[in-house]
């Protein structure tokens, strides 16, 4: 799932507004990522985050054969 660095997060909630799968929610007034199989790694949350707090990292692998 996307990762949130709470030290960088300014709680603007832009990521919540753009997330189409409900993976990012407010829990006790804190932006929180919840586990869901519906996340398609669109990385829009990372793109809109103004502080770079939210990251969607990729593993890069070489296909065998």
């Amino acid at each position: 799932m996307p990762l949130i660095n709470q030290e960088k997060c300014n709680q603007c909630q832009l990521c919540i507004s753009v997330c189409g799968c409900g993976a990012i929610v407010m829990v006790n007034n804190v932006v929180t990522v919840v586990e869901t199989e519906d996340c398609h790694w669109c990385t829009t949350c990372e793109a809109v985050c103004p502080t770079g707090a939210l990251t969607c990292s990729f593993e890069i692998v070489v296909e065998e054969g």
């Binding site: 603007c12 919540i16 507004s17 790694w41 990385t43 890069i60 692998v61 296909e63």
Partner: protein
């Protein structure tokens, strides 16, 4: 409908104005909302209202005749969406689409022209905003024009690729952009191009290199 004066104050166009001036300008604004995925502005159409983002995020993009999309920027709180077409009177050079629920504050072109004449500070602010946008777009043009950016992105992929059995350092598109010395939008475009050409496959949080030899050739050609 009341537009928040504090919000107007936060917009670059209106910085440096006093509360009395902002109170007058505020009356020229109206509010509009858009839902996720809604197209707010369409490339090629005329605009009669300058929109500023009051809440949410808006994707600013161009679409090629083949239907391919190039994101130019993400507009956030206080950003203007269509100042180019408002100022030059031409059609929208870009499209704008809500990435989630969005609130916009808009001012009609003729009202804006009156404000620009009445408050030279706003005109100066506008020229500064437009100069900043020109600078950002020139950087993007440079990156999109020169093949070496694609080569740098490919080199990053090859350098950080694992065999799938041992853990390797994971990278975000933002990190790849920082490494390649370019914008995140250019990395996103480069990855799409590489996928379309069959060099890689984008999977759920994985970039799979399907043709390592061809990627090595791209790096060699761009060196």
């Amino acid at each position: 409908m009341t537009i928040d004066v504090a919000f107007l104050k936060s917009i670059s166009y209106f910085s440096g104005l006093n509360t009395t001036e902002l109170d007058i300008i505020e009356k020229a604004f109206s509010e509009k909302t858009a839902q996720r995925g809604e197209v707010i502005l369409l490339e090629g159409e005329l605009s009669d209202t300058l929109f500023f983002v009051a809440a949410g995020a808006v994707k600013i993009f161009k679409t090629s005749t083949q239907g391919k999309e190039q994101i130019l920027s993400i507009a956030r709180l206080g950003d203007a969406l269509n100042d180019i077409s408002i100022f030059d009177g031409g059609v929208n050079p870009v499209s704008a689409q809500a990435l989630g629920p969005v609130v916009l504050h808009g001012i009609k072109k003729d009202r804006l022209q009156g404000i620009l004449q009445q408050y030279p500070k706003v005109a100066l602010n506008a020229s500064r905003v437009l100069a900043g946008k020109t600078r950002q777009l020139l950087t993007l043009v440079e990156d999109l024009s020169f093949r070496h950016v694609l080569g740098r992105v490919v080199k990053i992929l090859l350098t950080h690729a694992g065999d799938g059995t041992t853990p390797v350092q994971r990278l975000t598109q933002q990190e790849m952009a920082a490494m390649a010395g370019t914008a995140r939008e250019v990395v996103a475009r480069s990855l799409k191009v590489l996928e379309e050409q069959g060099h890689i496959r984008l999977e759920h949080h994985r970039i799979v290199i399907t043709d390592k030899k061809s990627l090595q050739e791209i790096v060699a050609e761009s060196a």
